[in-house]
């Protein structure tokens, strides 16, 4: 079974600075998807960024980028120019490429609570 681990329960960053959130995962599959979700105090789950394991190029979305190291099974999220609105819980998640047989379900890490200091 696949597992996702986020070893940093809490992180803090100064506004306008850069912060990196860590995520490792375990799988025997060679193809899969990885995601970062943001959960602000409103509890809404917001997709931040998505990475296909078969792509070597790291995904980027504006100020958000990932460092995907497939061999090391590592998937970190970098937030540049941090803003107050980035304060939230961030979840790393894994999904098998075998969507039909695996039910398309996401496997989540424990989350990292990010605070942004003005």
């Amino acid at each position: 079974a696949q597992t996702v681990t986020q070893s940093q329960p809490e992180m803090s960053v100064q506004e306008a600075e850069t912060v990196t959130l860590s995520c490792t995962y375990d799988t025997s599959e060679s193809d899969y998807y990885l995601f970062w979700y943001k959960q602000p105090p409103s509890r809404q789950m917001i997709l931040v960024i998505r990475q296909e394991a078969y792509k070597q190029q790291n995904a980027t979305e504006n100020r958000f980028s990932v460092n995907f190291q497939k061999a090391a099974k590592s998937f970190s999220l970098k937030i540049s120019d941090s803003q107050l609105g980035d304060a939230a819980m961030y979840f790393c998640a894994y999904r098998s490429l075998d969507g039909y047989n695996q039910g398309g379900k996401l496997i989540f890490g424990q989350g990292t609570e990010l605070s942004v200091k003005p």
């Binding site: 996702v4 986020q6 329960p9 193809d31 899969y32 998807y33 409103s42 509890r43 809404q44 789950m45 997709l47 998505r50 296909e52 979840f91 999904r95 098998s96 490429l97 075998d98 969507g99 039909y100 039910g103 398309g104 379900k105 996401l106 496997i107 989540f108 890490g109 424990q110 989350g111």
Partner: protein
């Protein structure tokens, strides 16, 4: 377009009582999911459904039941509620084409306390 709608948003249940958390989506999504989120923990899958009439267990199904009689609705039933079921419950859906790329759409959650 409402997306995924969950009701109620908050509820207090007494030990041993039963209740149903409602979830409906208007996006014609084939896959639907129920997750629970305990404090300081990630989301854990309770049950999921790949289409009307088809459901399957996730990681933590004990104490819950589901049904999927229509594409739109996926209610979660709690029988004989226990304090361990105090959690925030999320319903989610996606239009799954089998590629794994599809985005999950989440409801806003139901905060349930069992006292």
């Amino acid at each position: 377009n409402a997306g995924v709608t969950q009701t109620p948003k908050f509820h207090i249940l007494k030990i041993g009582q039963s209740m149903t958390l409602q979830c409906t989506q208007d996006m014609n999504h084939n896959y639907m999911y129920w997750y629970r989120q305990d404090p300081g923990m990630g989301l854990k899958l309770i049950y999921y459904s790949v289409g009307a009439g088809i459901t399957d267990k996730g990681e933590v199904p004990n104490g819950y039941n589901v049904s999927r009689s229509t594409t739109e609705d996926f209610p979660l039933r709690l029988e004989l509620a226990a304090p361990s079921q105090t959690s925030v419950y999320f319903c989610a859906s996606s239009y799954n084409t089998g590629t794994g790329r599809e985005k999950l759409f989440f409801g806003s959650g139901t905060q349930l306390s069992v006292l």
